[in-house]
Symmetry: C2
Subunit: 127 residues, 2 copies
DNA sequence: CCCATAGTCAAGCATCTACTTAAGTATTTT
DNA sequence: AAAATACTTAAGTAGATGCTTGACTATGGG
């Protein structure tokens, strides 16, 4: 109650695409598919082959990966060939990296403060 | 029936922790909490304040983040103070980076091949 | 002591997920 | 043309998720 933030609540909405990418990567099967495709294109059957589940299940995972923009695929004849699209992967990596950067910068500022004033009350608990 | 892989299917199981981290990051509210904590510790109420949901809902998100190892918290008196634990974030970043690296190495090898033999049958479905 | 604060616990509920099986539809291959 | 291959679609299901409300428990002032 102490603070005077705007009445309008901050409803996060700015990036559904990150939602989809992280959601896609949150499943081990889908990470396995990504890891496979990173080494080169593959057909649906090739992707399914080492996985302990039905073909339709694999297709559903592929759908999730495609919706997330992590994989693209193209059908030629009766064969669908899949490959990764590295852009979405980069987006996810960048979000994490930017958080880490903020964190590290903050630690640096903290170090500076502590170095300047060795016995001060820690600034930690938020102004 | 072309291939002769082992009957034993490859059941992915090696990293539940990546599951939990990516799952945690797959929600915009939780990413907002991480982004907030990256700038310094905060109490549960402070975290909840800009979010358009009930306190218990925020607690549940915090639970997810803690289980994923992204956040640690400690209760002093009646106040619980939360801070990020950057290690889990790094683990996720490293997984993504390792995939990107594999992808880039593969592209490099492909470039080499194409440079050596300019008019050969393409080894891949790749330009 | 009283009561506001800060957080917790427990149900309940509408979705969403990750599968499954069964039954298709195109394309080769023979 | 018939059979095999490579997906695709549809429908169903058990369990996980993201929220809610209501009741409850400590703590810290006044």
């Amino acid at each position: 109650m102490g603070s005077e933030r705007p009445i309008l609540k901050y409803v996060p909405k700015y990036s559904e695409s990150l939602d989809r990418v992280f959601q896609a990567l949150a499943d081990e099967t889908r990470r396995a598919i990504v890891a496979r495709l990173v080494r080169g294109p593959a057909t649906v059957s090739q992707l399914a082959e080492p996985l302990a589940m039905s073909l339709p299940a694999v297709m559903q995972h592929l759908q999730v990966l495609e919706t997330a923009g992590l994989v693209r695929s193209e059908k030629t004849g009766r064969v669908r060939t899949c490959q990764i699209d590295p852009q979405a992967l980069r987006t996810a990596e960048e979000w994490i990296a930017s958080q880490r950067t903020s964190w590290e910068q903050r630690l640096d500022r903290l170090d500076d403060l502590l170095a300047q004033r060795p016995s001060e009350e820690p600034t930690e608990r938020e102004p």
